[in-house]
């Protein structure tokens, strides 16, 4: 895997994409286009969320339609302390991850008792509850959203008020999230998750309490997404509960499926395709979402496995 001589299309795309993201500040500064840097930073944050969704959806077969809730929880974990002038980034991130874990644990406890379409509906319902809860809390802006005046502070270690520093902070976070998911999926725990996706009944009959393992996986995914939410809160300096609406959960699903559910890097490619197409198409027509719809249909019909699946087939042909 780490030996470039064995790389095929898939590995090259992964390495080159991450390298391009990493080197982007150098080039955009030359071209004096901070706008592009912002676009990629947002893309990378959403990619972390998509990678976390893929952990339960692609690897675990749990189709959650409420993943945007964790983005909201993470963002408010930055915004609400900042509102009380608590700007310690370590604390904020700890709250973001901790609160996401608690929310994932209790909703997972109930949701994971259900299967298929019921699971989809119940995860969506829980996320909508968070959405409406934040809309109703006037103190934190209600449906107008919350302005986050100060970004997280990391005690002088580094300063993410600086655009480039924030950008690299995000880049490192994305690489770390990918590495974490890769390690998890190859571990004993990951094998159980993969097995339970393939055949839960059989996994139980050989002695696994699949429910416990799935719940743990569900919590881990929530924690990673909560972290992404904390980044997004810092990035936008403004957070509206609208970002937790089920349509945004749907967008995350779209990114994962477009990129390739169940592959490590697919969600990053899916997010990149989504964000860049959105940027490009919305400049051309206000009906850009219709084009997305057609695109998703084409991917599902003709490119099962999404972009990553397509790259995998390219690799085999060589």
């Amino acid at each position: 895997m780490l030996d470039p001589r064995l790389w095929q299309a898939r590995e090259w795309v992964t390495a080159l994409t991450l390298a391009a993201f990493g080197l982007a500040p150098v080039f955009t500064e030359l071209a004096s286009q901070p706008f592009i840097l912002d676009l990629i930073a947002r893309l990378m944050i959403l990619a972390i969320a998509a990678v976390s969704l893929n952990l339960i959806l692609g690897h675990g077969g749990m189709i959650s339609f409420g993943h945007a809730a964790y983005i909201g929880i993470g963002a408010y974990a930055v915004g609400i302390p900042a509102y009380y002038e608590i700007t310690n980034g370590f604390l904020q991130i700890a709250i973001a991850i901790g609160a996401s874990a608690v929310f994932a644990f209790f909703t997972g406890l109930i949701s994971l008792r259900t299967k298929g379409v019921y699971f989809i509906m119940i995860t969506m319902a829980f996320a909508q509850m968070v959405y409406f809860a934040f809309i109703s809390i006037e103190e934190y802006g209600g449906d107008d959203g919350l302005v986050i005046e100060t970004r997280s502070e990391f005690g002088g270690l580094f300063d993410i008020e600086d655009t480039t520093t924030f950008y690299y902070f995000t880049w490192v976070s994305l690489v770390a999230a990918l590495y974490l998911v890769r390690r998890i999926m190859r571990s004993r725990f990951g094998m159980v998750i993969e097995g339970a996706k393939g055949n839960e009944r059989r996994m139980q009959s050989i002695g696994f309490d699949t429910y416990k393992y799935r719940l743990t996986c569900y919590v881990i995914a929530g924690m990673i997404c909560g972290y992404a939410g904390a980044l997004l809160g810092n990035f936008t300096s403004f957070f509206s509960p609208e970002m937790m609406d089920w349509t945004h959960s749907g967008e995350l699903l779209f990114m994962v499926v477009l990129g390739g559910a169940g592959s490590l890097f697919g969600p990053v490619l899916g997010t990149a395709a989504f964000v860049l197409l959105e940027e490009f198409l919305s400049g051309i027509t206000i009906y850009w979402q219709a084009i997305f719809g057609v695109l998703l249909i084409l991917v599902v019909l003709f490119a099962p496995g999404g972009i990553d699946g397509f790259l995998g087939r390219l690799g085999r042909k060589r």
């Binding site: 390690r183 998890i184 190859r186 571990s187 004993r188 725990f189 990951g190 094998m191 159980v192 993969e194 097995g195 393939g198 055949n199 009944r201 059989r202 996994m203 139980q204 009959s205 050989i206 002695g207 696994f208 309490d209 699949t210 393992y213 743990t216």
Partner: protein, 250 residues
């Protein structure tokens, strides 16, 4: 006299008023191969599903090693040493043959809340997986994705999965189902090798296999036990002949 290994008492299960398991009493002794035979619809798979914990009985009791397991979920029974194979092949089809078996070993090697080390480089799992595959003659297929194997190989992998958990009792639901005669003969060989060291409850349609393997046979008709005994006694039993065996035993 060996104590009962698995004790089924007065087990009852009905579906919409039709009794699929009708007050069944059955005893499996340690190290014996106990076959359950009966015509289609006799409730054999329903019985095994209740023993494995997938179906909850309406009444009665299942005791394993002297412990009441009637209400235990499947994974807890598996942890006690009860393993089943499925009549309709049930595998992790997207995974390799080795990964399938390694998972079964992992299930009985402490908990699997281990998040960091690469499980496929864990020789504690892979070595034992290869041994388990060798026992059913699949060691050459370790890297094959399970989906791509033949039906007969799937049946062998079914047994390998059950064996890899190192069970005290094997519940085998028609291991020869859908096999050609050559494959079936091979399966009989595999099971014969296990005879004596493993206790087995075997459900099977293939009468040659049953009479070749079983120490005792229970005959189930419409959910009821009509006879239990040694193969010769069952062959000679008039009611069994009438209800089931017919000309096959003749």
């Amino acid at each position: 006299m060996t104590a009962a290994f698995l004790q089924i008492s007065n087990l009852y299960k009905s579906f919409g008023g039709v009794a699929a398991t009708d007050h069944v009493d059955l005893e499996v002794l340690e190290h014996e191969v106990h076959a359950v035979i009966g015509p289609n619809g006799a409730g054999k798979t329903t019985l095994i599903s209740q023993l494995a914990g997938e179906l909850e009985p309406d009444d009665g009791q299942v005791a394993f090693l002297g412990r009441d397991i009637t209400r235990l979920p499947p994974h807890a029974r598996a942890q006690l040493g009860l393993a089943r194979s499925f009549q309709i092949t049930s595998l992790m089809l997207d995974m390799t043959v080795r990964d399938n078996v390694a998972l079964a070993i992992q299930a009985h090697d402490g908990h699997s809340f281990r998040f960091w080390r690469d499980a496929r480089r864990d020789t504690a799992l892979t070595d034992r997986a290869m041994q388990a595959l060798a026992r059913v003659g699949l060691e050459g297929r370790a890297d094959t994705i399970a989906q791509q194997m033949s039906h007969g190989e799937h049946r062998q992998l079914e047994i390998a999965l059950a064996l890899a958990t190192d069970p005290k009792l094997l519940l085998l639901d028609e291991p020869m189902a859908g096999m050609g005669s050559e494959e079936a003969a091979r399966m009989v060989e595999i099971l014969r090798d296990l005879k004596g060291s493993k206790t087995m409850l075997l459900i099977e349609h293939d009468m040659d296999a049953v009479f070749a393997l079983a120490d005792r046979i229970t005959v189930l008709v419409y959910g009821k036990v009509i006879a239990t005994g040694k193969p010769d006694e069952i062959r000679a039993d008039e009611s069994v002949r009438r209800a089931y065996l017919g000309d096959e035993a003749g």
